[in-house]
Structures are given as structure tokens and as C-alpha cells.
Symmetry: C2
Subunit: 226 residues, 2 copies
């Protein structure tokens, strides 16, 4: 049954191990470090060895994303609390996609998530929305939009949440931005000039809640008007 190790100390390779090692590497050294070569190096082997367990880098990426989406259990859809349930699911998804810096960026490169866990997340969200009285089409459209936004938020937010993005460079960009805007006649950018202070790490949660609250309260009004 069990096919033990080649040489006593080295753990036998497996898809699970490759994926976990890649995630460890991502967490420890960032997105650029996750190359087939570096993952193989972390496993003390050559790059070719990985291809026995993973078709290519793209599949490895998909497996990594699906791995962080492995959580549950999912709530029993409750028509009385469906809005809060939907929000919880979204919050959990964002948490998962920001749990490892860089994983959200990888998630964006996957066109349609077909991983086992992604499908379960989707079905859970659909069940909650349908419990709210939405027909299938509306539930699908809403889930699509919400999932899209959550992924987008996770991607943007994850940057400065960890050391992934160079803070100094970001500061520099902000300065250049203000410089550019103030080089125009006053009143050209009346609203945008005061924007910087509102987009900090502290307001991230607030912005997220603002968006999903607005969207879901819109859904509430539409639920019976089908």
C-alpha cells in the first residue's frame, strides 16, 4: 500500500507536498520566489521532478488557490439571516485570499475556478442567495459580481497588508500623483486630491463592508420583485 521514501530521510514527493511547499515558499519569500526551480530546491530535488505531480506551473497555481479555499463548514441557508450569511461567506473568502500574501494575485490568473473547494464555496453562496428568495439567474449574477468584487478587494488589499508591495515605492507614487495633480490649475482635481487619506490599511475593512452592504441591500429590495 505505502510506497516509502527513496532514501530514508527525504519525505516522498506528492502533489500535496509540492503544493504545500509552494505555499510555504510564497508566504516566506513572496510571489517571485515561487518558481518551479525554487520549489524543487526547497524539496531538495531538481525542477523536472515536480512535473510528475503537477502538469505545469499553471496547474500548481490553481492547486495553491484551491488549497487556501479549503474551509468550512458552510451555514445552513436561513431565509431570515441570508444577508448576514452571504456577508460571512464573502468575509471568509477574502480572509482566505489574503491569508498568504500573493495568493490573491495568483487567483486572478485563473479564469474560471474549477477546483473542488472553489465549487463548494460557489454552491454555498448560491444556496444562501436562493434562500433569500432570488431566482437562479439572479443568484448566479449576484454571486458572480460579489465573488468578483471580493477577489478584486483581496488583491488590492493584500498588497500593503503584508510586505508584498514596497511601501516606500507606494509612498513615492502617491507623491508623484499629488505633484501631477497640483501642477494643474486649482480646482481641476477637487475630489481626488483628498483621496489619499481615505485609502489606508485601516479603512480597508470599512470600504469592503460599504461595498457588500450596498450591493446586498440592493439585492434585498429585488428579491421579491422577480
Amino acid at each position: 500500500m505505502s510506497r516509502p521514501r527513496r532514501r530514508a530521510e527525504k519525505p516522498v514527493l506528492s502533489q500535496e507536498l509540492v503544493v504545500k511547499t509552494a505555499l510555504d515558499l510564497l508566504a516566506a519569500e513572496g510571489l517571485d520566489a515561487v518558481s518551479m526551480r525554487r520549489v524543487a530546491q526547497a524539496l531538495e530535488t531538481g525542477p523536472a521532478s515536480l512535473y510528475a505531480h503537477v502538469a505545469n506551473k499553471e496547474e500548481l497555481h490553481e492547486l495553491m488557490v484551491d488549497h487556501v479555499l479549503a474551509f468550512g463548514p458552510f451555514p445552513e441557508p436561513d431565509p431570515a439571516r441570508w444577508v448576514e450569511q452571504a456577508k460571512d461567506l464573502l468575509r471568509e473568502n477574502v480572509r482566505a485570499l489574503t491569508s498568504v500574501p500573493g495568493i490573491a494575485k495568483i487567483a486572478w490568473a485563473i479564469a474560471v475556478p474549477v477546483g473542488a473547494n472553489a465549487l463548494q464555496q460557489a454552491e454555498a453562496m448560491l444556496a444562501v442567495l436562493r434562500a433569500g428568495g432570488l431566482d437562479l439567474k439572479r443568484a448566479l449574477y449576484a454571486a458572480d459580481a460579489l465573488w468578483l468584487y471580493a477577489k478584486a478587494f483581496a488583491y488590492e488589499g493584500a498588497g500593503w497588508q503584508h510586505g508584498d508591495i514596497d511601501l516606500a515605492e507606494q509612498e513615492e507614487r502617491g507623491k508623484r500623483m499629488v505633484e501631477y495633480m497640483t501642477s494643474f490649475p486649482p480646482g481641476t482635481f477637487p475630489n481626488l486630491l483628498g483621496a489619499g487619506e481615505h485609502f489606508t490599511e485601516e479603512t480597508a475593512r470599512e470600504r469592503f463592508e460599504f461595498a457588500i452592504d450596498l450591493f446586498l441591500s440592493g439585492l434585498m429590495r429585488v428579491q421579491d420583485g422577480s
Copy 2:
């Protein structure tokens, strides 16, 4: 004033020309073809020549995105029509980000858009939202969410709109997905199983309108409750 060409036939290099060539290459051969080497090749020169006009590939990417965002004019904010004006701005942005296949993907790699045109787009949207009675903070949060969603939609939608994504492979993925879901007891994926038909190219516009309509009608209700 004018520094004419080195040798009579070859047009003199410039940042503008480099960016346009890169966009042409992107349109003609897809994202993978846009490497510094290939762009240089299209300009009949070596890769090192580009670095006199562009700091690195990332800056080239930003310039490409900002180039497709160069459109206007922007509407005079009208408190009576602000919702429709906001929608128009969003539609135009999506159109721009899908006008060249692959440009949306590039746009996602840019953390905070600081290009001149991106800033003007942002200011225009903010002006419209404020005309709708939103305070600065709400307008910023809303514009952020809307812009995020539009970018996400453009990215997802652009795939099968052009030949960028392999249609056969996408079909294959759909099949694997259904296979996986039907391998479970019936009733495990009651909602997701019927999803495929709702996510075609034909329904793209409908899904987009559904999402922004929901969000903006939510904003309408909130505009005076500040």
C-alpha cells in the same frame, strides 16, 4: 528643434512610439508576445534601445494601460442624471479595457493607477457621484468599488470575447467541472450545475448592467442619508 532620424527610413524612437508598438503587438499576437525583445524587434532594434524611453517593463505596461484610457470628453455632472452618467463612465472604461485583448490583465498588475488619464477618469467619476449628493468619503468608496468591479469584469469578459483564451480548453474545463459535480450524490450542487448556460458571451452585458444597476440604485437610496 527636431532631431531627425539616424538613418533616413527608420522613424525615430520615442516613448509614444514604443507604447504604440507594444499595443499593436498585444492586439496582433496576444499578451505573451509583448516582451521587450519582441517590441524592440518590431521596431527593428535591440532590446536595450527601449530602456532610453521606458524605465522597465512595468512602466511600459502602465503606459499602455493609460494609453487606452485616453478618451473623453467627460460629462458635465448633472444632479438629475448622475446615475446614468456614472454608468456611462463605467461602460466606457470597460470598453477601453476590452478594446485590446489582454490589456485588462495588464491593468490588474498595476496596484494604484497614477497615469494622467486614469486620474482624469477617477476625477470625472467622483464629480458625477458628488453631483448625486454623496459626501467625499462615500463617493470615494463607491468609485473605488465600481472601478474595481469594472476592471474585474473587463478582465473576465475579455477572455472569451477575443481569441485570447483557448475556447477548446475552456470547454474542456467546463466538462471536467460538470463531471466532478455529478460524481457527487444528486442534490449536492443543485444550483451550480445549471450555471454554465448563464455565463456566455451573450449575457456578459446583462450581467454587467445587473451589477452596476444594483450598486448604483443602492447608492441612490443612501445619497441623502449621510
